[in-house]
């Protein structure tokens, strides 16, 4: 009998042994795709992850599109067969059918943030050669900067004019598939954005004109974003400080003449502090936002915009194309010196810094009109083939009006106009020739100045509060 038990216990022991060795076999990893375990193992993988984050910032093209459609920059073109029409008519809701244009950035920027968080979680621990080691902090800094920027893009799109206690957006600092976060306040989100950008800057080396790159985040273009964000926060002193920091760095000075118009065909990267790259038509055709490759004009520059160009303004030819009198198209991003219509998104340009500083000088507690006017003149001097027309600016209010008018022209179709109006509490006012009376104006108090949270989000996330009136 005992022998028998021995026999059984041997069998049993063998079985347990077999089973426990099988346990390892249960930990299988995919071979055809990466998993959490092996997606990011080396510094090179991290670089690829960071590239992915930059790639997702191309959502910015959606900001360009909606800013044109919901402001006075654009109008529906002659070939428009409904493209963006509901958005243009301020008839957007939270559903994907009517709100498709205005809710897209929500998903896009959170996908960008998630990508960043996934890579950030690994950047500190991946292996690196001694030569690669300095890249660790640089890549980490780029990720932090991009995370701050992505949160900022959400904030200015889906929230009201800045007020620390108003509904913000959820802050996402780690990747969480089943997350159902509530909205943080605008103040909380702003604090996080400022922290991310400051942390990023602290990790990055000093920049000179020689080592400056406009395709990655660095100390200079982060400062440019800090200036933009401070202006959004209506923290005018900081806006001036950061804008000055960028202008003083002098990595991308203002240019004029052919050097300026070459920017828009990618013949050069003058004035560009940060751009999102498009290598081939497979990456997308930016100009097709307005005009198809077949030449059909879906979204045209508004008559109001075309009329805003003064005589001898070199920007007019660079920005506006005309097929026949009154039939204009957006010439920005229309053709490329690289062949076809492949051009990069100019997400941040030096001229914006002058305009930020001018607006801040006008709006800060103790306005400095001469300083603001000087910035406008500096910019305008580069933008006219002859001496620019004089500006009649003596009061802060006049300075602000002149600055916004200049920005309307300078940065049209680059994703600013709608946000500029919102930040200053101004209505959208279109010309009668640009829009039917029913959608000629959007009052400053209208709830549609804040885009809706996608219905897909409120369906999926019970903690998500919808914006007012949607």
């Amino acid at each position: 009998m005992i022998m028998k038990y021995k026999k059984y216990s041997i069998i049993l022991a063998a079985a347990i042994l077999v089973l426990s060795s099988c346990k390892k076999q249960l930990d299988l990893q995919p071979t055809d795709s990466f998993s959490d375990a092996n997606a990011f193992l080396t510094m090179e993988d991290i670089q690829f992850g960071v590239n992915g984050a930059y790639g997702r910032y191309r959502t910015y093209s959606n900001d360009m599109y909606t800013n044109a459609l919901t402001s006075d920059e654009g109008k529906l073109g002659l070939d428009n067969a409904g493209q963006g029409a509901l958005t243009y008519r301020f008839q957007y809701g939270s559903d994907p059918t009517t709100g498709g244009d205005v809710v897209a950035a929500w998903g896009g920027y959170y996908a960008m943030i998630d990508q960043i968080n996934r890579v950030l979680a690994k950047v500190g621990t991946v292996t690196a050669t001694a030569a690669q080691e300095p890249r660790r902090n640089i890549l980490k800094a780029q990720l932090l900067a991009l995370r701050g920027i992505a949160h900022f893009e959400l904030l200015q799109t889906y929230c009201k004019r800045y007020s620390a206690s108003e509904k913000g957006v959820p802050i996402m600092l780690t990747s969480n598939v089943l997350s159902i976060p509530p909205r943080n306040t605008m103040g909380q989100v702003m604090t996080q954005i400022e922290t991310d950008l400051a942390d990023a800057k602290a990790l990055l080396p000093a920049i000179t004109a020689a080592n400056f790159s406009d395709t990655v985040m660095n100390k200079v273009n982060i400062a440019a974003y800090q200036a933009r964000i401070a202006l959004f926060k209506e923290d005018f002193n900081n806006a001036i400080t950061y804008a000055s920091e960028v202008i003083t760095a002098n990595v991308k000075p203002l240019v004029t003449g052919a050097a300026f118009s070459g920017i828009w065909t990618d013949a050069n990267n003058n004035e560009t502090l940060f751009r999102l790259r498009y290598a081939t038509s497979a990456d997308g055709t930016l100009g097709a936002l307005w005009t198809t490759t077949g030449g059909q004009i879906y979204i045209a520059p508004s008559d109001k915009l075309v009329a805003a160009f003064e005589p001898n303004d070199i920007r007019k030819a660079a920005y506006i194309g005309t097929l026949s009198p009154g039939n204009n198209y957006v010439n920005k991003f229309f053709t490329s010196s690289r062949g076809g219509r492949v051009v990069d998104i100019k997400a941040c340009r030096i001229s914006e810094m002058y305009l930020i500083r001018a607006e801040a000088q006008a709006r800060k507690a103790s306005p400095n009109v001469p300083a603001g006017l000087a910035d406008l003149i500096t910019l305008r001097t580069q933008r006219f083939s002859t001496a620019p027309p004089a500006l009649a600016v003596t009061t802060p209010a006049e300075l602000l009006t002149a600055t916004l008018r200049e920005k309307f022209v300078e940065l049209c179709f680059e994703g600013f106009r709608f946000f500029d109006l919102k930040r200053n509490g101004l209505p959208v006012q279109r010309l009668a020739s640009d829009a039917n009376a029913a959608w000629q104006t959007l009052d400053a108090a209208n709830y549609r100045f804040v885009y809706p949270i996608p219905r897909d989000e409120t369906d999926a996330n019970p903690n998500m509060a919808q914006n007012d009136s949607y």
Binding site: V18, L26, G55, W106
Partner: protein, 1027 residues
């Protein structure tokens, strides 16, 4: 001390009894159920090779060794019977003709073998007789109508096509509900059966309740189909030849496309309403019509020309069905050897199967080899089961609804177009005019086929450690490699006319896919009968399964037509010719580790209680939920063995069964896990390499569900087995309630998860119910010495209902319906059709408020039109035996299925499809003038998808008629070398009764039909000769 003494004396007693029992001689007589003596019956001690055969008077005498428990009586054409030897020395028995009823059927679960009287669940056995010589390439096609609880839709009728099998209703939203298939204890890949020879099958057990499915743990919830192949029969080697030949042809359809006269008339009627918009020579019936105002403007010569053209067009009447369909010869030959000497038995067979499809270039040829070896002695038993099969399958061009699909083409092609040019070549060209000829041209030039090798090998070793304890090891491998080839000749018109460089150059595409699964299953079993009353059986089983899948493919271009259909003809791509080959591949693997305990206790052969517990660990699940347990409990009560039943003569046998338990379905993971072989890593986030303006990126593409578990199905089953009225009425009835819990439902994710707006992830949250009743009833209407007439009916009713979607909103089901709480799966979602307004010809649709509108956009899609998954289904038939003749008929049916007839949408749609130049259905009846009662609206209105095209797909099919004749033994014996001859003729799929107006309602997707390969009608005849 006392204990030890007792043990000693007990051992001594056992030893003595053993000695006394040794070398006992048993005698007896074997008769058929009418009392006629049966000669040549094999009488074997079960589990050994000791045996003899009965003499001409049916008598036998056999000396059996010590420890022999059972005698096995087997005879070709009769059901095998087992008799307990016990203490007696005389056992006279009668055998029943195969297929009638079994006194002591054994339920094979693939892991265990259980006597039916001790089996607590619902299982049906399909016997050899029903499986043999069926003219189908994939054996699962046989299941329809033959066992209760199975919805077996044949699908398309192309050679070798696997059926859609659903046991007791679908139990998953996002995944499959296909059962697990097990051959000789080894699980095999589902739906790939073309290389398996069903003529080697001895039986198919269909296991539907938890007492069997729980044994398979995470794999069993959709039911288990267990196949047992033939084993060698002890005795002299017997060689059997089976030959079968026949022809397969196109069945009759309710659907008929228009002929030339009808179409020209329809075109004219259409033109009269539409007017100038129909003035195109694509519609000659109107274009050249005298009723066309254009005619008056043509002048004399123009009018004569129009008349001439219309006249010559009207004289062409091509029947595209005749061009596309053919009659396909069928043949099947098999040689098998069966026998055994000493301790070893062998079954070997080699078979050759050939089937030509009912359309051009669709056929199947298969060679199979099976080798089953059994060895047994007092302690050691071993069996090896192996099958190797090679199949070559040629496909018709395509099954999609386009003009590459011959069946769509035969419906769409216009009858006044010619097939051939005067020189005999196909009259190919561009545009709808050449739909039919271009199809035939493609079929002629191209090749599209696969070569498949499949090998399944199972080993089973068992060693009796003591009288009660057996250790066993089962190990098996299922291997399949399929090489698919698509040759696109550059000479085909579609390529010649293409401007795409690669298409124009011709192509050769090969894809190789491999599937390998290995299974190792050690076990330890204990069985003992205490005090002759308490029988206890306990088994502990471990299982380790590994699965590998791999795929490799390439497409090369520039193939020279002088060397058709070979990769050697591929041109290397370069910057000049731009013919870059495309290469790809993928692979995946999974592991399952399990422990299983099965226990049974039987008291007095009357009360049986069973239980099982299985603990499964799977590589497909995250660490936290990786190990999951499944259990089952069951009981059987043999009422007829109770004393109080002793006087009830009408009841021969009656038993009640109950079981409850759960199992999972590891094969139904949502196919969206971001890997290319989907469903292998669903809990893991997956990242893929991408590109940001030419520089590489790594981005997350699938979220992964970190809380993933199996969907589990819990089944309550109550059953009744009965044999009444002198065993002339027998069968079983089962009722069940299956609840699938933790059902995968696509939950919308917050965008903060990182996958954009509206991304979904399947989470375990829903609940689904299937409840129903199943019956299998057989009655012998007549039973005389020479004549037995039997009627049988098998069938089931299943009620399927989604109980919960976890509070999430209704979800589109990806087909024609929507998942909604309270509705069955497959419930169609469509705008309700209100008919055609007789006054205006406008289509009418029901709005949300139940009002009629002709504006389709205002119509409200509703779920009022039933489901494709038929609640009622089954089979019935009869068999008549007279002396050596056996005549049997099987009908299969389903009732209550609703399907979308997409063919109607296309072919009763003058504006959408007749105007661009396609043919229409002979059912087309469109509104022409006020007062018309029409089914298709005024052609000035578009035809939209609505409930108009959802129709009843119920049917009764005459699946099988077989007449066979066994040549009398006396005649056969005169030949000296032949021991048995059976001749048979058979008709398959001869008729179908249905209201369905399309082609075959069973072919195609489960939810809709357009124009698929119909199930062929077959006439075959054959012979079985045993030497």
């Amino acid at each position: 001390m006392h204990m030890r003494k007792l043990l000693l004396s007990l051992t001594a007693f056992l030893f003595l009894t053993g000695t006394l029992l040794a070398q006992k001689t048993i005698t007896g007589t074997v008769t058929d159920d009418k009392g006629n003596p049966l000669p040549n019956v094999s009488v074997v001690v079960k589990g050994s090779s000791t045996g003899t055969i009965t003499k001409s008077d049916g008598s036998y005498s056999l000396t059996v060794p010590a420890g022999a428990r059972q005698l096995e009586f087997s005879y070709l054409g009769f059901d095998t019977r087992y008799v307990e030897i016990g203490s007696g020395t005389r056992h006279s028995i009668s055998l029943n003709i195969a297929g009638s009823k079994e006194i002591e059927e054994v339920v094979v679960t693939g892991i265990t073998r259980v006597k039916k009287s001790e089996y607590t669940g619902a299982a049906s056995k399909i016997n050899q007789k029903e499986i043999q010589n069926q003219p189908v390439g994939s054996f699962d096609q046989i299941l329809q109508g033959r066992a209760p609880g199975i919805l077996a839709l044949t699908g398309a009728g192309n050679p070798g096509n696997a059926a859609n099998i659903i046991i007791r209703g679908s139990n998953s939203l996002s995944g499959g509900s296909g059962p697990l298939f097990v051959i000789d204890g080894i699980p095999v890949e589902a739906s790939v059966f073309q290389s398996i020879n069903p003529n080697d099958f001895a039986s198919i057990d269909v296991l539907r309740d938890a007492s069997a499915t729980a044994l398979y743990g995470s794999r069993g919830s959709a039911g288990v189909i267990v196949i047992t192949t033939k084993r060698g029969v002890a005795g002299k080697m017997k060689l059997t030849y089976t030959g079968q030949m026949g022809i397969k042809s196109r069945p009759e359809f309710a659907f008929r496309p228009m002929n030339t006269t009808e179409l020209l008339k329809a075109q004219e009627d259409f033109g009269k309403i539409v007017g100038a918009g129909a003035n195109t020579d694509i519609l000659p019936g109107w274009y050249y019509s005298k009723a066309n105002p254009r005619y008056a403007t043509l002048g004399t010569a123009g009018q004569a020309d129009a008349d001439r053209r219309l006249d010559s067009i009207s004289k062409i009447n091509t029947n595209w069905n005749d061009e596309i369909f053919q009659n396909g010869p069928f043949s099947n030959h098999q040689l098998s050897l069966s026998g055994g000497t000493g301790k070893t038995r062998i079954y070997t067979s080699v078979a050759l199967y050939n089937e030509e499809g009912t359309t051009l270039r669709s056929d199947m040829s298969r060679v199979t080899l099976r080798n089953n070896i059994d060895y047994s002695d007092d302690r050691f038993t071993m069996s090896v089961s192996s099958q190797f099969g090679y199949t070559k399958l040629n496909f018709e061009q395509n099954n999609a609804f386009n003009t590459s699909n011959p069946f769509a083409t035969s419906a769409l092609a216009v009858p006044y177009h010619k097939v051939y040019n005067p020189d005999g070549s196909f009259a190919t060209g561009t545009g709808t005019k050449y739909v039919g000829t271009n199809q035939l041209d493609l079929t002629y030039w191209d090749r599209n086929y696969n070569d498949q090798f499949k090998g399944t090998v199972g080993f089973n070793f068992a060693y009796k450690i003591t009288k009660d304890v057996t250790a066993a090891l089962v190990a098996g491998v299922d291997f399949r490699e399929t090489q698919n080839t698509i040759y696109g000749s550059k000479l085909a018109y579609n390529r010649l006319s293409s401007a795409t460089i690669t298409t124009n150059a011709g192509s050769q595409q090969e894809s190789m896919s491999r599937f390998l699964s290995g299974d190792v299953r050690p076990s330890l079993a204990y069985r003992h009968l205490f005090n002759n009353r308490h029988e206890v059986e306990v088994q502990a089983i471990g299982e380790y399964i590994r699965e590998f899948a791999k795929n490799f493919n390439y497409t090369g271009y520039g193939t020279d037509p002088k060397r058709p259909n070979t990769p050697a003809a591929i041109q290397q791509g370069n910057a000049t010719n731009q013919l870059f080959a495309v290469v790809g591949g993928r692979k995946a693997r999974s592991t399952l580790v399990s422990g299983l305990t099965v226990a049974r206790y039987t008291l007095d052969n009357k009360y049986t209680f069973t239980g099982s517990y299985r603990y499964d660990g799977s590589s497909k699940l995250p660490k936290d939920t990786r190990w999951q347990g499944f259990y089952s409990v069951g009981a059987v009560w043999e009422i007829s063995k109770e004393n109080f039943m002793a006087n009830m003569r009408a009841i021969n046998s009656l038993r009640i069964k109950a079981s409850y338990g759960g199992s999972g379905n590891s094969d139904n993971f949502p196919a969206q896990d971001g890997t290319i072989f989907t469903g292998y890593y669903p809990y893991q986030p997956t990242y893929t390499q991408g590109s940001y303006s030419g520089i590489p990126t790594i981005i997350a593409t699938y979220a992964g569900n970190p809380e993933l578990k199996w969907e589990t199905t819990w089944v309550t089953n109550l059953g009744l087995d009965f044999q009444l009225l002198n065993n002339r009425l027998y069968g079983d009835v089962n009722v069940y309630d299956r609840r699938t819990k933790d059902l995968f439902v696509g939950k919308q994710l917050s965008a903060t998860a990182g996958f954009g707006n509206g991304a979904t992830l399947d989470i375990n949250i829903g609940e689904l119910q299937n409840k129903g009743v199943e019956w299998n009833i057989n009655g012998e209407v007549l039973r005389t010495k020479n004549l037995v007439w039997t009627l049988f009916s098998t069938g089931s009713y299943n009620h399927n209902e989604i109980l919960s979607l976890g509070g999430l909103p209704d979800i589109p089901d990806g087909g024609t319906g929507k998942y909604s709480v309270g509705k069955p799966l497959g419930t169609h979602l469509e705008v309700k059709w209100g008919g055609v307004d007789a006054a205006t010809g406008a289509p009418l649709y029901y709005t949300k408020d139940g009002k009629l509108t002709s504006d389709y956009a205002l119509g409200e899609p509703v779920q009022e039109f039933g489901t494709w998954e038929s609640p009622w289904k089954g089979g019935f038939g009869t068999s008549l035996r007279y002396k050596g003749f056996d005549f049997s008929v099987l009908f299969s049916w389903q009732q209550g299925a609703m399907k979308v007839d997409n063919l109607e949408y296309f072919l009763e749609n003058p504006t959408g499809f007749m105007l661009p130049g396609y043919n229409q259905s002979s059912y087309l009846n469109f509104w022409k003038k006020p007062g018309d009662i029409a089914s298709t609206p005024n052609p000035l209105y578009p035809v939209n998808f609505s409930s108009k095209i959802i129709h009843d797909a119920s049917f009764v099919r005459l699946r099988d008629i077989t007449l066979s004749y066994i040549v009398p033994q006396q005649t056969v014996e005169k030949t000296k070398f032949i021991s048995n001859i059976r001749l048979f003729v058979q008709g398959t799929n001869l008729f179908m009764w249905t209201k369905w107006r399309g082609r075959d309602p069973e072919a195609g997707s489960v939810n809709l039909n357009i124009s698929e390969y119909p199930n062929p009608r077959a006439f075959t005849g054959g012979i079985d000769i045993t030497f």
